[in-house]
């Protein structure tokens, strides 16, 4: 058994509010505190509202290895990885996946470079990291491929604020008024970034409006993180004559998000890459059946609690959505299975999982 350190500190390239990896790091800190460790978070970049809770990376203490361990939250290329690599403490790495550069670099060339750096750093860190945590089996296999000698799945600590927040009544009323005029409401939640493939959900909506549901509407929630891509989506919707049928809601409050989940009838995900995809669980928690393109970690996150398709051809996605909307027993079965799946990722369960992973490192010889 290893000597128990006094502190386990986390290093993260960037930390901002309302970001899945940032939330995970803040929750991990609480778990480490509850286990009796001194634990601080050190970030290279810090968003508003986190000063005081998070420290600048330059202030990371360098104590003896038996006193201090460091855990790197890996999700992008960053000079923070070099600070982690040069630290004397025993090293843990928590991997949240790095989206492939080819999916984003056409739109965001600098992010493509950042991603390539991230992949390179991930491989370089393998020999010096004691154990690699991954928030999905898909991510764990990537760590294995990168040469990590010991890996385990430690669940993502999902931000459950959106699970319990009461829905914003104004949004509920607005969506109800639209639905009274006919048509079903589709929903997708995710940052407006190219690998989320919003355009493929829009294509499926076009087919559904032609084949089954002329008044179907799509609500796209998520901040516009890539101006050129967001611009293309706006142009696309305009060119297709769907301006009134597709809503770009942007970044919304927890209450508004809750209202969209409560008022929509199907969650449609056509992403090309997801390391976990927390909105799938949010949808399940809100009794929203899921239709998703089954790539990367999506099948593992959904399991049998949603319709997972091997292709995202617009006609196939539209047909799947129509089936979910019109087959009441299927819908009910999916809602039940979804609720069960969401419970498996409850905050308490995820915290226990992370604590177990830390204990596993302590027990190792």
């Amino acid at each position: 058994m290893r000597a128990r350190p006094i502190r386990i500190d986390q290093i993260i390239p960037s930390i901002v509010e309302r970001d899945a990896v940032s939330h995970h790091a803040l929750e991990a800190q609480k778990v480490l505190h509850s286990m009796g460790f001194v634990s601080e978070i050190y970030a290279r970049n810090m968003g508003p509202g986190l000063h005081g809770r998070v420290h600048l990376l330059e202030d990371l203490p360098r104590e003896r290895p038996e006193r201090q361990w460091v855990c790197y939250q890996a999700s992008i290329g960053s000079p923070a990885a070099d600070v982690f690599a040069s630290h004397p403490g025993l090293k843990l790495l928590d991997y949240h996946n790095i989206s492939p550069a080819e999916l984003v670099e056409r739109w965001l060339p600098h992010l493509g470079e950042e991603i390539r750096l991230g992949r390179k750093q991930l491989a370089e860190l393998a020999p010096i990291v004691e154990i690699g945590f991954a928030d999905s089996e898909f991510n764990r296999l990537e760590l294995d491929e990168a040469g990590y000698r010991d890996t385990t799945v430690a669940p993502l600590m999902v931000d459950t604020t959106n699970f319990s927040c009461p829905p914003d009544q104004r949004v509920v009323d607005r969506l109800a008024a639209a639905r009274a005029r006919g048509g079903h409401d589709w929903l997708f939640v995710g940052q407006m970034l190219p690998h989320k493939a919003h355009q493929d959900v829009i294509k499926a909506l076009v087919c559904a409006r032609r084949m089954f549901d002329p008044e179907a509407r799509l609500h796209l929630i998520g901040r516009e993180s890539c101006p050129a891509y967001a611009d293309a989506l706006h142009r696309y919707v305009s060119a297709l004559g769907l301006t009134g049928a597709v809503e770009f809601a942007g970044s919304v409050s927890s209450g508004e998000l809750s209202a969209y989940y409560a008022s929509s009838e199907v969650f449609v995900c056509c992403s090309d890459h997801e390391g976990f995809c927390a909105p799938l669980l949010e949808a399940m928690h809100h009794r929203l059946p899921v239709v998703a393109y089954g790539v990367t970690a999506v099948p593992e996150t959904v399991l049998d609690a949603g319709i997972v398709l091997a292709s995202k051809s617009p006609v196939l996605v539209a047909t799947a959505v129509q089936r979910v909307l019109t087959d009441a027993p299927l819908r009910e079965a999916l809602v039940r299975a979804g609720l069960e799946r969401a419970r498996a990722f409850s905050a308490e369960s995820a915290r226990r999982g992370f604590a177990r992973a830390i204990e596993q490192v302590l027990q190792a010889t």
Partner: protein, 346 residues
Amino acid sequence: MTSEVVAEIEAQARELRASGCVPPGLEDELEACFEDVAEASLSGAGMPSVGETGSVTPVAGVAGPLSLAGLRRQATTLVRRRLGSSLRRLERRSALGAARAGESVWTQAHVTLDRMERLTAGSVLASRVLSAVRPRELAASVAATTNPALEGPLLTWVLERLSVAKSQEVPGKPGLVVHAECGDGRFVEMLDARGLDARGADPRSSVRTAGTGKIVAAGTLEYLAATQAETFDGILLTGVVDRLRPGAARALAQLAARALAPGGVVVLVSARPEVTVAMDPVAADLAPGRPLHPVTWCHLLAHFGLSELEVFEPDPSTSDASEPDVFAVSARRPISRFAGVSGDLS
């Protein structure tokens, strides 16, 4: 159970295609249409106006007539987008808080004096009174920016550094550059002439040139705080850097680093601290702060993640050193920094 359902769905989709419910080639047309708009967006081509599809490939039988309800929804979406960014801007402003309070007071004092001067135009007495209460360092600063200390080799050096500012967001698009405390905007025009998309900000209406449309009324700290992160490919700081309180100097470096897009360049031009005090001790005593040494600026900029630091100090021994009392510092935001976005991009 779901695997059986998926098999049924796949079979149904095949039947729909075979039965002609789906127009042949619709899926390919949808893909081609997206490629068209993607190219237009990446090249920065103009957005088609309401009711027209621009140069994008039309998709047969998809576009419907515009309705009043559709236009209303479009307007609502637009307003939501605009309000959303205003609220985010407000949040950023409040986050800065006390760090720039002193600068805001300073700016407001001068903006108020400008307004009073306009109101009392023609009154010799009022003009004298206002001149007497206007702090000395403003006059010095106005002189510096309306008759810039940017001349000779220093000007060449600054222009060279800013001219390489390129848009990282959209390849081929001119870099977006701002001159904070730009005075009459002549340097904004110079940068524009070099193919950059140049903007300016200055708190003093008395020095801004009317009608350029590219200069806004704002103090430097206020302007940068209200700017979205990673906005500019180049930032030029003059004037205000000579009279910042120590705390505000740190805030300025932080805000400039935050406002720079990856790969972006910041250049600041400042008076040498020892020369300012020696030449005009009264003005220096009245100023809220002192100019900083170039090494201090380098340290501050590096602290907030900027690199490739360079200092230009005109050589006083050479005959073409027109401004030996002024130095410039440049720094670049590393392309490998991508603040605020994690790689799984969930």
